[in-house]
Symmetry: C2
Subunit: 348 residues, 2 copies
Amino acid sequence: MSYIILFGGSSFEHEISIVSAITLKEKLAGERVEFIFLDKDREFYQISPDQMKSRYFASGAYKKGRRVEMGRGGFYQVGFLGNKKKVPGKVVINLIHGRDGEDGKIPGMLSFYRIKAITPPVEGCAISYNKVLTKYYASGVGVKVVDWKIAQGEEPPFPLPVIIKPARLGSSIGVSVAKTPEEYRYGLDVAREFDPLVIVEPFIEGVEEFNLAGCWVNDQKEEGEWLFSRVEPVKKREFLDYNQKYLDFSRRETQVAPVDPQLETRLKEAFKKIYGTSFRGALIRCDFFRINGEIYLNEINPIPGSLANYLFEDFPGTLRRLAQSLQLEREIEIDYRYINQIQQAKGK
Amino acid sequence: MSYIILFGGSSFEHEISIVSAITLKEKLAGERVEFIFLDKDREFYQISPDQMKSRYFASGAYKKGRRVEMGRGGFYQVGFLGNKKKVPGKVVINLIHGRDGEDGKIPGMLSFYRIKAITPPVEGCAISYNKVLTKYYASGVGVKVVDWKIAQGEEPPFPLPVIIKPARLGSSIGVSVAKTPEEYRYGLDVAREFDPLVIVEPFIEGVEEFNLAGCWVNDQKEEGEWLFSRVEPVKKREFLDYNQKYLDFSRRETQVAPVDPQLETRLKEAFKKIYGTSFRGALIRCDFFRINGEIYLNEINPIPGSLANYLFEDFPGTLRRLAQSLQLEREIEIDYRYINQIQQAKGK
């Protein structure tokens, strides 16, 4: 399989996307991969593999590189006289975390231009990007969510401590834990800087957290097949390091301890409900809580850092099967039957 | 205000979008308006106002016209040597019904290129385009929906008659009413041609239907203001003309009879809950049912035909105020602080 890794974006997670792409380059060393960078001004640049170093972007040196455009079927280098040359690569990997990549803009454009891509579709983006929609959706498909309210006024809707989250950011910026009314008001102000819509949850100490990544493929059987990563048990949340954890973007290599098979089955069942048909074509990670023996969805990560490669037994193989399953939107035949009928009727 | 009306699209409603744009041209006769047509191959063409006749599109004559491209801040005519000239117009009106326009692709692109537009945002598109999400969302925000189930197997999940709807189409194609088990199986086959996800509802005869259009503006006050159309009471549904009604795209001029003020207030309250922050920037129409005195959401029409202009007392004024309220996404400053810190740490 040959890929184009698309990264960067006008997002608070622009930098982590660069780190993510550099990591994925190593993990896909056996595949043919091209790199396209979306800079902060939303210009696309083709990046030579040997330039895939964070300094190249931070210094602005990439601007001397080759500008490309998204167009029908792929990305194109545009010559002086307007002649176009396609960037090779069968499947785009959307690795733009946060805004642009996870809010549906880039997925919409890829679909518009009929480009095959490993990406959450527009629908999945909307569901995961807005934490309020995530709650409605998870409840709808039958997966429990932690109790929550939309912030109104200045009073916390639950006994303190609580977690305050801007609804739409696709990252954990603006998220805080409030232990006192003063902290609550301050946290609310911070969150509202990012989104007028802010949600509040009770903060539950010592909750167990489990991450599970996966995707649905139908390269071999019509009814499809689920490919799952190992379950990652996350260290118990401590009150003090909560912000730190949430701001720790650089998902590290992990030694994954095996979990109880019954728990694993239940996590997979919850994952399937969430993924449904809304995330087809994506490799996503669902972060779950276990509270009093019950499974709760914490959040959907529709483009996890470096695609959570470290959780998979065979990451390149998983990605290849997903890539082979991708389908373009059906073509719609437009024959102007309706207008022609009216024209004929008028002619009578 | 100066507008660019964007219409057409790779959609089953391509033709109605043309009719819709021609109607809107008349309704906005006092404004400066440009026209951009998205053809079935997803190429953009600038259309001269005097060519805005349905025959011009049906005959393919538009292809001799001027190709344009969407780019940063607007649409551009591209000259022989790659020089670009911007199509004038402050605000784009997304009038692409169905796919492309209502599924989030075009809204995402407009937002990506920082183009001000009267359009449902990506999030609102996802909610309204997938009828399952509409159900979850409406229930979430506290608006009743007609009972429904996802179709499984070949047996109807409710006593017949039922309505069968493909979940994602953004139009009424593939929708049918089944009175017999044979009709159910046939209807299911038809619906599944369009989407593997199909929903089924009990068919309630003689239900009262009310349409209400509106938008939220904040051109004058920070807290914003709701602008509503008159309520349109729809003729009672008859069993036999259901398909016909649903396939009748050409929304006609309507004599709107006044409705009970208490009902109007309740419809407006339900509308506000649905519109929320998910449809900001859009002029939408919500179609409600009244069953045993209770209000139910039937569907959200995020780009109603000709923007439901016939329902408004002052349509051009409403549109102008909405246009003046539009805001571009905030700019995100990217300073490479994170990468620079790592570089510094490495240098030590």
